[in-house]
Structure formats: C-alpha cells, structure tokens
C-alpha cells in the first residue's frame, strides 16, 4: 500500500474510451491511465500506482517545501539533479544523492 512512483507524462492518447498516457520514469516508459488526472498536459509529473495516475505533482509546492528542507542540509554537499528529468549521470549509484564523489 501503495507503491506510487513519480513520472513525467510524455504523451496523451485515448484508448477504449478512456484517457491514457505514456509516462517516463527516468529512462523507462509505460502506459498509465490518466482518467484520475484530467488536468495534466504533456510535461506534467504524476504519481503512478498500479498503472494509474493517482495524483498530479504540485511542482510549485514541491519546490517551496524542498527549499526549506535543503536549507537544513549542508548545502555544499548537495548534488541536486541538474537536468529537467533528474539524475544525468550515465551511471547511477542508488544511495549517493547528496554526497560528493
């Protein structure tokens, strides 16, 4: 209960009478039902649970609240994702965000 993963909507289409989308999770894409996120456009971030968008990520709220969190951490050590889509490295280390290599 409740593995929900954030991803970016890269395509919207209709299938069998319902609104569907292709969602990019940072390298892999999968179809998901967007009926529960009627306000999304291509480029929106959504939280996907069992192939359905259950929530739209409020990017403004996320940025605002994360700024407060980031202010707590040691800013020199933070390696925040630089690209629009997340970690750019060709190589990802699972626990390594926030530490300099």
């Amino acid at each position: 209960m409740c593995l929900g993963v954030p991803g970016k909507v890269v395509e919207i289409y209709e299938q069998d009478g319902i609104r569907m989308g292709t969602v990019d999770f940072g390298g892999i894409t999968r179809s998901a039902c967007l009926e529960y996120a009627p306000e999304v456009d291509v480029g929106s971030f959504v939280v996907i649970h069992v192939g359905f968008a259950i929530s739209v990520v409020d990017e403004a709220e996320a940025a605002r609240s994360y700024e407060l969190l980031a202010a707590m951490g040691n800013l020199e050590d933070i390696d925040l994702p630089k690209t629009a889509d997340g970690v750019p490295a060709e190589h990802y280390r699972p626990g390594a965000t926030g530490t300099r290599r």
Partner: protein, 368 residues
C-alpha cells in the same frame, strides 16, 4: 528520477534526524500506518537512528497482510478451476491461505498470473473469452480507483468474462479501532500518503479531534518520513492534535475527486474482517448495484469445506495493531521466516515481520 531522488538526500536526512533529536524531550509512541512506509524505515535503518525516546510501532497498512484468509482460500479454489484464470498483484502470491498459497496452486496446475495493473487483467479477459478471468482486488483506498475503473471498463466494453474478488480495506476505521483497543499506546500517526492522495484527509480530522492524537499525512521516501516524524513530535511536544500534511507535493485536503466519484459509482462500504485482527465495521468495500454482476464471490460461491484456520502461534494480529513488534513473537525468525511463513506479515515484503526479518532485526539487537 525526479521527485524521488532528492527525497533520499543523506545530508538533509542527517539534519532532520538532528532536529528531531533536539525536539524530543520525553518518550512518545508513534505509528506509521502504511507498509510502504514501514519498508523504507526499516531498510534505511531510520528507526535505529531516531532518538531512543521515540518508539515506532507499525500499523496494519499492508493490504496483503490483512486480506481475509477466507478470500485467499477462495482465490485458490477459483484458480484450480479449468474455466477460470486468477490474476493478482505479485505480493499476494506467497501469502499463506489455510493450507497453501497461490504459488502452490499454480504449481498444482492452476492458472495464476501476476499483473502490474488491473487493466492488464482486463486484457487477459479479452484474450481468453472462453474462461472467466478473476482479478484479486486487494488494496486500500489507493488501489480502489484502479480496480473500479477496470470493472467499469468491463461494463462499458461488454467484457462479460471478467470478475473481481474484492478484498478492499479502508484505513480510517482501522486507525479508530486501534485507538480504542485496550492497551493502545499509540500517541500519533503518520497517515499513508497515497491513500490520502485519493481520499484527502477530512476523515482524519474527527479522529484527531475526538481521540486527541496528532496525524501527519506523510510520503514514502526517507526525507518524507523524517519530516513527517518531525512534524508529529513537534505537535506532541506542543500538546497539539491536528491533521497536518507533509506530503504537499501529492496530497490535497479534498483528495482526488474524479477517483472518488468512480469508486462510489462502483463500490460501497461494508463490514470487513481483517486477517489477524477481526471484523472492523464499515472498513471494507464491495461492489454495488449493477456491478455486482462482476462479483467473483457471487459467480463462484465458496464450496463448504475446510474452515479458514490460522496458525496458533502467529501473533500477526498484535503486530498489525502495534501491540507487539515482530521480534516479540516466539516464532519470529525461527519457525516463521519468509520461506515458511506462519502469517501474512512475514510474507509480503511490506509486512512488518518480513521487513524486520530482512533487515536482520533480532530481539537482542533492539534495545527498547
């Protein structure tokens, strides 16, 4: 992965842990409700890094763990029929029924398939028109909208060989039941973020008010949990008992209206037995009205046979309501392991017992 990785930042995690340590002045017992939250806390060892005054007990937030035994037995029975296919989420396959699990039913010849989404199960029904495809619809409020859509689509598209075996459970009644249970020590809750993405948090407001417990809607990543815990202990130290939202990027107070509308079109509330706990009134969902035609329990009435029976040693019930922790159980790690589970919380990787086992928690390692 954006909106995921940044919430795993170690530097900020350490800063939050420091802040929590500075905020706590006396012992508090907190419960995180969702199995996904338990999973993160135990795997990242966050519970070991919190101040000793904070005790974390784990709630019944693993729908796989609380799915009634009788329904698992029914799914197994259906799977063995040559005219049926059972589709299920992966984590249900190893949950023990009265005498076997769905994996063993498959080994014995039953058609059991793992799917990622209920829409995939509908697709299986389309491709196998000569058999009835039964989707094992487990989950909390988070999953109900998806399962509802699958049934609604079946109806719209005229797919008649599709059915749901409904095992949905609802969180707020469970929290209320925990709060009134004798011996309850829980003083604050981390409410499940994705359930609240659907439901909003209005149902928690009367609970916070009537029982005087703070509730913080919380996400699933390490920083979410730490921030949620910080908000919770701040309220406790200040003597407040409100509902607050940590998971601001994904949850709003009113929830997801379109999802709620489809759920109420397809399902209605009912009493539900929670495995290991007992019946909690109005804590389940069942198909309503015209959708009852898709109810697997009606299509495949249970044969009267072996009554559902649990292991006598398994204390899953106590673990699920936070009255005991996994390592309190005499069978934990010895007779009961993920390979040979006695109860459901040892099977699902989100169950508290499995989480503890996989993280190597043994009685002697835990101080409290």
């Amino acid at each position: 992965m954006k909106y995921l990785d940044e919430y795993r930042n170690d530097g900020i995690a350490r800063a939050l842990l420091d802040d929590i340590a500075r905020t706590v002045t006396r012992p508090w017992t907190l419960m995180e409700v969702c199995g996904g939250q338990t999973h993160t806390l135990i795997r990242q060892g966050i519970d070991q890094l919190l101040p000793r005054d904070l005790e974390l007990v784990h709630g019944p937030g693993c729908p796989v763990c609380v799915t009634p035994l009788a329904l698992i037995d029914e799914a197994i029975e259906i799977a063995k029929r040559p005219d049926a296919v059972v589709c299920s989420f992966g984590d249900m396959l190893r949950v023990p029924g009265s005498s076997e699990d769905l994996f063993m039913a498959r080994a014995a010849g039953g058609d059991v398939r793992v799917v990622y989404s209920p829409l995939d199960a509908l697709e299986v029904a389309r491709r196998n028109p000569d058999r009835t495809v039964v989707f094992f619809a487990v989950g909390f409020e988070t999953t109900a909208p998806a399962n509802a859509m699958a049934v609604r689509q079946a109806s719209q598209l005229g797919i008649e060989n599709f059915a749901l075996l409904v095992a949905h459970v609802l969180v707020p009644p469970a929290i209320a039941a925990i709060l009134v249970s004798p011996g309850n020590r829980v003083q604050g809750f981390l409410a499940p973020g994705h359930v609240c993405a659907i439901q909003g948090w209005t149902e928690y407001e009367p609970i916070a008010r009537d029982h005087g417990v703070p509730i913080v809607v919380t996400g699933f990543e390490p920083l979410d949990l730490l921030e949620g815990i910080r908000m919770l202990v701040t309220q406790l130290e200040q003597g407040r008992h409100e509902v607050e939202n940590q998971y601001v990027r994904a949850v709003v107070r009113g929830g997801n209206r379109p999802a709620l509308d489809v759920v109420s079109e397809v399902f209605e509330t009912c009493d539900r037995a929670w495995r290991g706990i007992g019946v909690i009134p109005r804590s389940g969902l069942r198909l309503r009205g015209a959708y009852r035609a898709y109810d697997a329990e009606l299509l495949f009435p249970r044969a009267n046979g072996v009554p559902a029976s649990e292991s006598e040693i398994c204390i899953a019930g106590d673990v699920l309501v936070g009255r005991a922790r996994p390592h309190d159980c005499p069978a934990f790690g010895t007779l009961c392991t993920p390979e040979s589970p006695l109860g459901a919380p040892m099977v699902s990787s989100e169950g508290a017992c499995a989480a503890y086992f996989l993280a190597g928690r043994r009685r002697e390692e835990v101080g409290a």
